[in-house]
Symmetry: C2
Subunit: 163 residues, 2 copies
């Protein structure tokens, strides 16, 4: 086997280890499995791709968790699954659309709240309630537009860089 992917089984540099761990906690706070966050963090700082066994060994968790969480991350658009000729293993690497996908998720969160506020019935005879809902909805729209602009600009720049 060529030595391109050696060191995948080596213990992590302490700094990287700390980063991976903090990423796991960050995701856990957002209600997602901590292992998913650690996988993501590890692949963020890993050039190239890792097999499931690489991830399981480096993170010290079961292959079952790696399998399910890596697929979940792929579903969310954070990872991409690749393969190599003459190798039956699956390899995961950080998605190329990482930035876009992250912003898109923030956008979706903002839109969900705005939609809910927009559809909220305005109680009769309570203009202050209606005003509050309107204000709240409006600021969400502003934030949505602002983040949307960032996303559009980023996509434009990326296209310019690639084309």
């Amino acid at each position: 086997m060529p030595s391109v992917d050696r060191d995948k089984h080596a213990a992590l540099d302490p700094g990287l280890q700390h980063f991976v761990e903090r990423m796991g906690l960050l995701w856990e706070n957002d209600g997602l499995p901590r292992i998913a966050g650690r996988i993501f963090g590890l692949l963020l700082v890993t050039p190239g791709a890792c097999s499931l066994d690489d991830l399981a060994e480096t993170l010290g968790v079961s292959k079952a968790s790696i399998s399910t969480d890596a697929r979940r991350l792929e579903q969310l658009g954070f990872l991409e699954r690749t393969s190599r000729p003459g190798d039956r293993r699956d390899y995961y690497r950080a998605s190329n659309d990482l930035v876009e996908r992250s912003l898109q998720i923030r956008l979706d969160a903002l839109r969900k709240v705005r939609r809910l506020l927009a559809e909220a019935p305005r109680p009769h005879g309570a203009p202050e309630v209606a005003a509050r809902l309107d204000d709240f909805e409006r600021v969400h729209r502003y934030a949505e537009d602002a983040v949307g602009d960032v996303l559009a600009r980023w996509k434009h720049d990326a296209a310019a860089r690639a084309g």
Copy 2:
């Protein structure tokens, strides 16, 4: 008892009930207690303030949950606690700083991720990893600035409206 706060114990309008329920689910998806989301949703569409008993009865949950979650919401800046002369009960109402506080929470989330990315060690001999981390960090900063601008503008407008 004066009739100012009558109807606080009445069953909710179906449309409002639906809104409150959806708000609860939205908060639950964000990893927060569903009851907290329902309290917040209810007070969003309620003019004036509600006592703990009002909230418990209208939402059909225990007073214990109302007590803890309402205080949590107050800690987060979503609710304000008020009192009335000659009435020993606590009353909660939607905070006046609602909009600012919501944006601020989004900002904090963005900043936490950006900080983590900024502090991530760049592995030696892997320029593509460093570039990825830099890009990711940069776009978070852009989003942070964009939302920060929305917040600043909103505050400015609110000051103009009040002053």
